[in-house]
């Protein structure tokens, strides 16, 4: 876009210059003006059907739709002039005549664009005679996670265009004509495309609903936190929605460099394990055959005692779901040992691409931070590392679930320190158990498969005494006078950036909410 000539125009009195070819609706966003719209979506081809974005452009005889009109030199756009407002009021009134006023039982209420715009600039009362019938069609299960409530549909066709042009699996259409129209589905097909759940987010009203989220929470009760999906190594940007400190759903967060506006259905369901109840809530140390709950200070003292007294070989078994900070600090903690750092990752054959978006797929590598681990020198050689245990003085486990690993295997090492969110059976062989927060409970970073370092934010408190791994490891490092402690994930990351050349120059501030790519073999810069 940078080499396109700039066009000067005025929108609602704000003068601005935008590249040639920009749509008025996008230019308005840059001028700080939100033009109401339904069918337009930056991630979909323009339809121009809802007629909600009609604006008054000086020197044109009729109102124009901002979503299909390109900027022109000297153009003067009035968004909130009397004519445009009247037209939008008209559209809102038309949309409501066949729309049930069932907001009190509608999942979309509170985040409904119809509700919002009607309150913003619609009529206070309808002129539609109450005895007239409203269009009625029964609720239909489209398959996958999607439920269609045709009565609420405003026929914006975003879902149809998503399936046609983004998923490239044309199984939705507009069926019938006139006010009898509804969204139809191919009679022999289900909406089970791996990315089909996006139609629920795209729907501006409560017509396409998630079965998983159905009647679970009201939109205004939700706290939204920027996060990164843990479903695979793609690193889709997401929002975690929580209510009363329980994650209730995940939704895509726009990042044009990674996932545009979308996330896959597999990723959507990842929030479930974030709420698991069987968590370790207190530090534990081995006393005889038992693990006893102790204070953090006691646990740190014991762990430090182990580390001080050991020498020779050590092993880190890390989860590629752990934060980059934790992976870095774990290695620093054992820096004076002859260290084997390993991870394992679930690999599924085949990817599920979103056809219409380049380089976007549910990847076979089902963990978010494989690249982070790799960049920090962890090897995907879990079995080799297990075999090295009997020659090792210490094994530090960083939230690997230890599936298929026996307690005896772990005991082969001199000492076992286990950092984990839960306590799988083999972990009972540990000398010290340090409870840590999961992805929803801490700040941290993941590095996606394209080497983009991305931050995620704390969405809910950790249970009991569990703390973020960067805090736990920082305290332990400080105890051993090797570094730390850290007051925040940002401080931990700053140390990482200072020590690891591949992360050089990066900081939480620079990463922001969109992340930055680590350039190959040189200090990292920040992409625009």
């Amino acid at each position: 876009m940078a080499d396109l000539p700039l066009i000067n125009l005025t929108i609602e009195g704000v003068s601005l210059s935008v590249p040639k070819g920009t749509l008025v609706i996008e230019a308005a966003k840059q001028a700080g003006v939100m033009i109401p719209h339904y069918c337009y979506h930056s991630g979909l081809p323009v339809a121009g059907v809802c007629r909600m974005c009609l604006v008054d452009i000086e020197k044109t005889p009729k109102l124009q739709i901002a979503c299909a009109t390109q900027v022109a030199e000297g153009m003067v756009v009035n968004v909130h002039g009397a004519q445009a407002r009247e037209a939008r009021k008209g559209v809102l009134e038309f949309l409501l005549i066949n729309h049930p006023l069932d907001c009190p039982i509608c999942d979309q209420a509170g985040e409904c664009e119809l509700q919002d715009y009607v309150f913003q600039e619609g009529r206070a009362r309808t002129r539609y005679t109450p005895t007239y019938a409203k269009r009625f069609n029964p609720v239909e299960d489209f398959g996958g996670d999607v439920l269609y409530v045709p009565n609420r549909c405003i026929l914006c066709t975003r879902c149809v265009r998503f399936m046609d042009h983004v998923a490239e699996e044309s199984i939705l259409n507009v069926s019938e004509r006139g006010d009898r129209a509804y969204i139809g589905i191919h009679p022999d097909r289900r909406l089970d495309h791996p990315w089909a759940g996006n139609v629920v987010d795209l729907c501006p009203v409560g017509s396409l609903l998630s079965k998983d989220f159905l009647h679970k929470a009201r939109a205004w009760e939700l706290d939204k936190t920027a996060s990164v999906c843990t479903g695979c190594s793609q690193g889709c940007n997401i929002h975690l929605d929580t209510r009363d400190n329980v994650v209730v759903r995940a939704r895509p967060r726009a990042n044009l460099e990674v996932n545009q506006y979308f996330m896959c259905d597999h990723g959507r369901m990842q929030y479930r394990w974030m709420n698991r109840g069987d968590r370790v809530e207190a530090p534990l140390v081995a006393q005889g055959d038992e693990l006893a709950a102790v204070s953090w200070d006691h646990a740190f003292a014991r762990a430090a005692q182990i580390l001080r007294g050991a020498s020779g070989r050590a092993v880190v078994l890390a989860s590629p779901r752990a934060a980059t900070e934790a992976l870095f600090l774990a290695k620093r903690l054992l820096a004076r040992f002859e260290l084997t750092a390993a991870f394992r990752v679930e690999r599924v054959s085949g990817e599920a691409p979103l056809a219409g978006v380049p380089n976007l797929a549910l990847r076979g590598e089902r963990a978010p931070n494989v690249m982070g681990a790799t960049l920090l020198g962890y090897a995907e050689q879990f079995e080799t590392a297990l075999q090295a245990l009997n020659r090792s003085a210490v094994v530090l486990v960083v939230d690997d679930p230890l599936d298929g690993v026996s307690a005896d295997q772990l005991r082969a090492a001199g000492h076992v320190i286990y950092l984990g969110t839960a306590l799988p059976d083999p972990a009972r062989a540990a000398h010290v158990v340090l409870p840590v927060a999961n992805v929803a409970e801490e700040d941290g970073t993941f590095v996606n498969r394209d080497q983009r370092v991305q931050r995620y934010f704390q969405a809910k408190p950790a249970p009991g005494m569990a703390r973020p791994a960067w805090w736990v490891l920082g305290e332990l490092l400080a105890e051993l006078e090797l570094g730390g402690p850290f007051g925040s994930a940002a401080e931990a990351f700053a140390w990482l950036a200072a020590e690891e050349p591949r992360f050089g120059g990066l900081s939480y501030e620079l990463l922001g909410t969109r992340g930055a790519v680590v350039p190959a073999g040189q200090p990292a810069g920040v992409s625009a």
Binding site: V49, L63, L155
Partner: protein, 437 residues
């Protein structure tokens, strides 16, 4: 379908000269009547010369919009980089219009010839003849004529022996009125749902299959051979009023007249004369109340307006209506205007493609209000509401279908308010209507 009437002396018979002459449907019969000479002549000219000649004639689109045909053709890229297409719009579905049907029924070769000339002028490889789904007889006749035209070497890889390639295919519609809108027609040809497209891009830049395309009405294209044969100046001289309305125009007259049918008159012919003399006037004992001159989409005229209206593009605009497609619907004093307007609105509500909000919801709402008034349950404020809705439905959508629904409603309320009032205040007995759109 029967045979047409014998021409009235006041008619100016050009397009309809062979209506009713079954022999003219065949290739031999058509050639005997001077057919395909114009095509031969045109193929010997440069495409630009053909366009110039049509521009000179002043021929304007007969489908409703009245855009100058030669100018439209000249929008096609001069330097050909992609395939060009011509679409002949034979999806004649405007209520009250049935002229293209007769052109296809009686002079199929005349239409093929016109298409071939236009196709050559805009340098198109292919013409698509988009024929309305319900037109079974015209379809059969056109298919026969097209096969014959290929057999006789009019079309194909060596069209008229000139070595030029001219191909023509018939595409049958499936019964949607909206497919007569040119961009919906192109979607329909492509096999998509017949929804109008947003413009720009315009068809001349991005038309059917994304290629430069011109869409012309049947009557427009059928007029072209006559212009080539007799010259642009001759065609331009056919005008009784405004110099920008030239040639002859077919009017499909229906409703309360003694002799309904297709009548061809010179542009600028008085509307009153067409109704009262040429068509024999309204039935005995009745008086003219109103008429719609250009198909159901245009504003209604009162008797006074109709009797002083000149039938050309400018004359109709002067009376606040449009020449449209030339579908003349006549109402005598027995007509219930409220019912008639509801009936028209119901057509549009049924045919709305459902894309634009105002049209999808507005047309159906309009019908419900009109039905409520007819049922004797209307209120005065319903009329204000109808006008307000019509305002919202005008000039705000992708195509003009909702404008077309609003036009008769607005003009009807304005000009025949008394009839609406009679239903509302109870002086007229309620009329049972089928209560659904």
């Amino acid at each position: 379908m029967g045979y047409p009437h014998n021409p009235h002396p006041k008619e100016m018979v050009v397009l309809s000269q062979y209506f009713g002459d079954a022999e003219a449907r065949t290739y031999d019969g058509w050639v005997k009547r001077g057919g395909y000479q114009a095509l031969e002549k045109a193929l010997a000219m440069e495409p630009a010369q053909v366009i110039e000649m049509v521009k000179e004639s002043g021929l304007r689109g007969r489908g409703g919009a009245g855009f100058p045909a030669g100018v439209k053709w000249s929008f096609m890229p001069k330097e050909k980089k992609k395939p060009h297409y011509l679409c002949c719009n034979a999806d004649e579905s405007e209520p009250g219009t049935f002229k293209d049907r007769e052109i296809m029924r009686w002079t199929p070769h005349g239409l093929i010839e016109g298409c071939a000339i236009a196709q050559y002028a805009i340098q198109a490889e292919v013409t698509y003849l988009y024929i309305r789904g319900e037109f079974t007889e015209p379809l059969r006749i056109m298919e026969q004529a097209l096969a014959e035209a290929y057999q006789r070497g009019v079309l194909g890889s060596n069209a008229m022996g000139t070595g030029k390639r001219l191909d023509m295919y018939i595409h049958r519609g499936a019964g949607a009125y909206i497919c007569g809108e040119e961009t919906a027609l192109m979607n329909s040809i492509e096999g998509r749902r017949g929804n109008p497209r947003i413009r720009p891009p315009f068809p001349a830049a991005y038309g059917v299959f994304g290629m430069p395309t011109t869409v012309n009405n049947v009557e427009t294209l059928a007029s072209v051979p006559h212009i080539i044969n007799r010259g642009g100046a001759w065609y331009k001289s056919l005008s009784l009023s405004h110099p920008k309305s030239t040639g002859t125009k077919l009017f499909s007259v229906c409703g309360n007249v003694k002799r309904p049918g297709n009548y061809e008159v010179t542009m600028g012919f008085p509307l009153g004369e067409l109704i009262h003399e040429v068509c024999g006037g309204v039935p005995a004992g009745r008086t003219l109340k109103a008429c719609v001159p250009g198909g159901s989409s245009v504003p209604i005229l009162t008797r006074e307006e109709a009797e002083s209206c000149k039938l050309d593009y400018e004359g109709c605009v002067e009376k606040g209506t449009m020449l449209g497609s030339g579908g003349l619907i006549v109402f005598d004093d027995s007509a219930d205007m409220v019912y008639q307007i509801m009936r028209l609105a119901r057509f549009y509500a049924h045919e709305s493609c459902a894309q634009c909000t105002q049209c999808r919801e507005g047309t159906a709402w309009t019908v419900r209000i009109l039905q409520r008034i007819l049922a004797g349950q209307g209120e005065q404020k319903d009329l204000e509401l109808l006008l307000d809705l019509s305002e919202q439905m005008t000039g705000k959508t992708i195509c003009v279908l909702s404008d077309s629904c609003a036009a008769p409603v607005v003009s009807g309320i304005k000009k025949f308010r008394g009839e609406f009032d009679a239903y509302i205040n109870g002086t007229r007995r309620p009329r049972p209507v089928l209560v659904h759109a």
